[in-house]
Symmetry: C2
Subunit: 139 residues, 2 copies
Amino acid sequence: MSEPKFLDELKFDANGLIPVVIQDANTGEVLTVAYMNRDAVRLTFETGKTWFWRRRHQKLMMKGEHSGRVQVVKEILVDCDADALVVKVEQVGGAACHEGYPSCFFRKVTRTANWRFSSNESLTRTRSTAKKVAGDERL
Amino acid sequence: MSEPKFLDELKFDANGLIPVVIQDANTGEVLTVAYMNRDAVRLTFETGKTWFWRRRHQKLMMKGEHSGRVQVVKEILVDCDADALVVKVEQVGGAACHEGYPSCFFRKVTRTANWRFSSNESLTRTRSTAKKVAGDERL
């Protein structure tokens, strides 16, 4: 089996990686930002599950490999410069984040009435994603 | 005026950058993936418009500086590792992409009935974003 042709159109960075936005196919919520190398993109395309290059582990892993919280691929989008991807998924098990939250983006910068001069703001939990999903928090 | 405290919680990469997903605050569509340095995050927070570190130009620029297509910030989200941001915006002028498309992600990997073994797929325009917005295509 030959490699999918679109792989040759993608621009990987100096480390051989491309940033990938994982988006919930139903709600549009951004679940996580992760990195794929060429093999991870190919495997994501071929298996219909997301694969990432885990920079911390320096290892290619299927999301949900241990936790069962796999991501079923619905669509793969490529940007104008072909150096970033959006992968729309259905998240199995409700939690994309290894900390047990539905989305990794569970914190937001607090805003006041005016964005200007709000110099003492810090991070707070977002309402929509503040509820942890119980269970296994491994990848 | 002191710097916003949350800046100290963010993790910038070896080049001093953090990847940022720009998302349409109304539709949830991912408009672009770009990079901010510390100053760009601070300016985005303080001015309520998006600022990016343009890697190609090696320069800090406000989005829409030349084209008028500014992005009005509605919300800034931070991920679990504090090494990626989602900024929800209202896109002025209808086009986020410098090529004149509403979203930079105007191409998708064609899928067949089954993701597996579709080795000869290439990129096609997405239906939703295939229509260019007329006018100035500068940043």
